[in-house]
Amino acid sequence: MKLINKTTIGWLVVAIAGFLVLQLAVTTGIISAYYEITLVTILINIILAVGLNLIIGFSGQFSLGHAGFMAIGAYTAGIITKYFPTYTGLFLGILAGVILTSIVALIVGIPTLRLKGDYLAIATLGVAEIIRIVIVNMQSVTNGAAGLSGIPYLSKWPLIYVFTVLTILLVANYTQSSPGRATIAIREDEIAAESMGVNTTKYKTIAFILGAATAAIGGALHASYFSVIRPGDFTFNKSVDVLIIVVFGGIGSITGSVVAAILLGFLNVFLQPFGALRMIIYALALIGIMIFKPSGLLGNKEFTVSGLLRLFNRKSAQGEG
């Protein structure tokens, strides 16, 4: 196994091609300033969903606290870039957000990850609410319920694109490694995993922290792109939005989360003219997919370059034969 093989080159091509297509669309005006917001929302949703999928889909722990971790990242980066309105400030802000979120996730994770299923969901939901309430009440630092405004607009869409690719790479690398396999084993059968020498608490916590850290990246980019953040942006609803993307795309499928974030993003845009009907159609689409494909668009399968190559080889072999 080498670093430079068909699969890695394939993914690199996909990432660069995606960037070039978007760049072309933006310069030619196909993606107008208005649609650029949609693009950025989709990219940030991908970051959030891929991170949450690591927690829910791979370690099998049901977390509803994603908005809370996103809020910590957003506020940390927002405050720091207000003092240092440079790219250095932004990267420092993202880094600080990630570190702070990881610490909070560690403190929260160790006691709550002993809980299972619904109990863990309620506990993490509570944590996210606590984070939001703390932000509302830290008037002097966070400007309370009115929120932070005037955050320097530093994260242009290409930067967000790069972070999206990096996040996917981070989560994909983790899930396809030895610690990642140990994490998946916990989802499959916790007792068996422990009997095979897997330190279940450790790997649940690692997955939880990695997921939370990516949420912080998403939050930081959100703050820096939209320039305004309010505690109201990070309520339970935000966590549910991300959860919907994960479930829609397929629990345990990274590419599923990406596809779902893009599809739901488009759906939102196309439904804009329908006004109040929008939410009904959106909900019907979700109900539809849950009836006809309960495991989500891709189930727990991945769309892979190596799979595509295999398909291609098979086709060409058939053509020759």
């Binding site: 030895s178 610690p179 009997s195």
Partner: protein, 257 residues
């Protein structure tokens, strides 16, 4: 030198005494049987030995690097790390993962592959990954499962699932292997094959095996010593010949005076 020494072990579930005052000793490179009627407490004893349950009373001590250490209070994964592998009576494979992944997961704790190294894909990551895969396939070859590496565990036939459980337990590099009814649900031919295989494992890997089994032909054939449990008490202990003639054992199995 004894690898494992259990003294006065008792486990109560409320008012029910599932295991009471049990003594057990395993020496190096031994094949020991544990038999008893249904509900005698055999699996409970396994769960106590591997840290799934905590005992009410008594001691479980193991020998690691020439030192005696108590197992009580330790987590299951620590005990596995100390060299105690196990299989499950009701197969507990990672069903939705491939055969290879099942084995690789068991090798993880000894491989010392860190999270950071994996995420950043440092060069040493690739080296340890390919080394692990090679070892896993070697191990699968012994059990003639090497052609099934990419198959999902749930799609294997029953007999092969049982074998994979043993491979997975061996992949943790145990000194002592606990096999919980490995022949359950197998036909006589499969049982005979398994009997040969268990003997071979014990010889090739130089490990101690503690075997729970209902199939008397298997137990009497391969075990050097046999412990007999009934209602949580150890009623007999000895060589297969001694056990066959033991009145209490016959009574436990067949009833009567």
């Amino acid at each position: 030198m004894s690898l494992l020494e259990v003294k006065k072990l008792t486990k109560n579930f409320g008012g029910l005494s599932a295991i009471s005052n049990v003594h057990l000793e395993l020496k190096e490179n031994e094949l020991v049987g544990l038999i008893g009627p249904n509900g005698a407490g055999k699996t409970t004893l396994f769960n106590l030995l591997t840290g799934v349950y905590q005992p009410t009373e008594g001691s479980i001590e193991i020998e690691t690097n020439g030192q005696r250490e108590s197992v009580i209070g330790k987590k299951t994964y620590t005990i596995t790390d100390m060299g105690f592998g196990r299989t499950f009576q009701n197969i507990r494979l990672f069903k939705n993962l491939t055969v290879l992944d099942n084995v690789l997961i068991a090798m993880h704790s000894k491989s010392k592959v860190g999270t950071l190294k994996s995420v950043l894909r440092l060069p040493s990551y690739y080296a340890s990954e390919s080394k692990m895969k090679k070892e896993a396939i070697e191990l699968l070859k012994i059990f003639s499962l090497e052609n099934k590496v990419d198959e999902l565990a749930k799609n294997l036939p029953y007999g092969e699932q049982r074998r994979l459980e043993i491979v997975r337990a061996l992949a943790t590099k145990p000194k002592v292997l606990f096999l919980d009814e490995p022949a359950a649900g197998m036909n006589p031919q499969e049982t005979a094959d398994l009997t040969a295989l268990i003997r071979q494992i014990q010889k090739d890997f130089k490990i101690t095996i503690l075997l729970i089994e209902h199939d008397m032909s298997l137990v009497m054939n391969v075990c050097e010593r046999i412990y007999v449990l009934e209602y949580g008490r150890m009623i007999a202990h000895g060589t297969p010949e001694e056990i066959k003639g033991n009145k209490q054992v016959i009574k436990a199995y067949l009833g009567g005076e």
